[in-house]
Symmetry: C2
Subunit: 313 residues, 2 copies
């Protein structure tokens, strides 16, 4: 925690006290200008920043303050998962409007629970006043061999973790003025960064990975472009949440599941090691234009839906 | 750069293109979920996050967009200086309101210039829409022996780099509706993180450091508290900018100069090594209540002014 907290002395120290009280021993190295961490010898440092903003990524009436903190932290940690990195620490830059000051404790609890879930210390951050709640979260991790988007090779199989479509279905319901099902809501509100799953796959020879934030169709195109390959997926193979069609699942963003490529992964062994989480082969890397995605429906090529669009655009 | 840029596809890729065009080869490792960096063997990782927000830290009419980018970056890097860390990389989380979209290129240039000034790569970040311009900047560095606030010992001398009071004088002028002098304005608009200066002092045996963000009086109290000592400073020794009184200098925040303790530092050798930057002995660490600061004026104890307050509080 830097001393630079322009909420002003009273509110400033109140905010620090609130955060530290919520985090307890999970906050470490706070009180100097920077936090000091060890990167294990032979490991690379992996870093990423992700921001969650009210009205852009969520609306206040959709989520509890705990869920806002949890979701923002897991969304950031999901980038470490995509690199198959082990987390080292989390830093937070919170912008807290006056109307949200009373929610700071539950937001901090949500952040702290997400960090505790992965046994990750909170090593710094700051709090500023502002008009909209925003959580800019930087995650630090390490990996001897970080997994990149660029490693997919022709002949690899394409895999996805979990079941897709829940977050998109929840968002669709809210935007239509309906309440989402509890299962869809939970997938939006309580995502889990697939850190252990990614490291398992990396150890088993995964060649590339990306986390699903823009939706499977768009993120697969990113991976295929980075790898200079074409990706072919089978619509009927997509693992979907209850009440979601495969086409809806293709466009559902903010899943924070992993999309991976590998010569072959043992899906039952994965599920056994990952508390029952599904790993599903959905297609293959084939020769073709770099960055292209081919969608097959019972063997025939069909058109891709457009990529996930952010609701507040 | 994550793929998660909820300005929407058009504006999203425009924003990425704008930033990458401004940064050129200074942006490295962009295009994966996280950036991969090497921490030299035997070094600790040092990390810090600092946020600069419109209306909290500056007003639009005070600074050019280039200066906003430069200043926010240097303010963040100043925390690495305070730890005597060598920079490894910078990550940015930018919140860009519609009214600021056209200023993104010059803001990016200011960030890029500040990074180039220290030969520091920009290794990631993201851009979101929002109501207020905000720059949440995470800095990564490394040091074999990071300098902490807690190392000051009774008998140490207290030093400060540069000349103080310019940023406070500029702020005072703006808030009074006057134009600041060019010299005071430059100290506010174009601070320089004292990274090389800090590493020089650490090599010469500095025992503790903090950067001056809240003002000398307040930051010295933080250092004394962390070290469990009392600090005594001589008002007439304070190095001040032209037109600033020592009492005004004591309360001037956002200086981004360094406050250091050491058994002894060679000020002329420091200045020779640091392009003429001043290093001034301003007091000493003495027995007394932990965290207390004593101000002497020609040998007699006088009352401290109140700490720097943020203008937008």
């Amino acid at each position: 925690m830097t001393t630079h907290l322009p909420l002003g002395p009273g509110a400033e120290f109140d905010a620090i006290r609130t955060l530290l009280a919520a985090w307890g021993p999970r906050a470490r190295g706070i009180g100097d200008d920077g936090a000091v961490l060890d990167v294990p010898p032979g490991s690379k440092l992996v870093v990423s920043t992700d921001t969650t903003v009210e009205h852009v990524h969520f609306r206040r009436e959709w989520l509890t303050p705990e869920e806002i903190g949890w979701r923002a932290t897991m969304a950031a940690l999901s980038d470490l998962a995509a690199m198959a990195a082990a987390p080292l620490g989390v830093l937070l830059a919170l912008t807290v409007p006056t109307a949200w000051r009373d929610a700071l404790t539950p937001i901090a609890h949500g952040i702290g629970e997400a960090a505790a879930h992965g046994d990750i210390p909170i090593v710094g951050g700051d709090v500023t006043a502002g008009d909209r709640l925003a959580l800019a979260i930087t995650v630090l991790g390490h990996a001897a061999h970080p997994l990149a988007r660029s490693g997919a090779r022709v002949g690899d199989a394409i895999y996805v973790t979990g079941r897709l479509g829940g977050p998109g279905a929840a968002l669709g319901a809210w935007l239509a003025g309906r309440a989402p099902t509890l299962a869809h809501r939970a997938r939006f509100a309580r995502p889990e960064a697939r850190i252990a799953a990614a490291r398992w796959c990396a150890q088993q020879g995964a060649t590339a990975a990306i986390d699903l934030s823009d939706g499977l169709a768009g993120d697969l195109a990113h991976l295929a472009a980075a790898s200079g390959v074409c990706a072919e997926i089978d619509l009927e193979c997509l693992p979907v949440s209850e009440g979601v069609t495969p086409r809806e699942a293709l466009a559902s963003g903010e899943e924070y599941e992993l999309l991976l490529t590998a010569a072959a992964l043992d899906a039952p062994a994965f599920s056994a090691a990952q508390a029952g989480l599904a790993l599903t082969a959905i297609g293959r890397v084939v020769p073709g234009p770099a960055g292209s995605v081919r969608l097959l429906d019972r063997g025939g090529a069909v058109e891709l839906p457009s990529a996930h669009d952010h609701f507040a655009r």
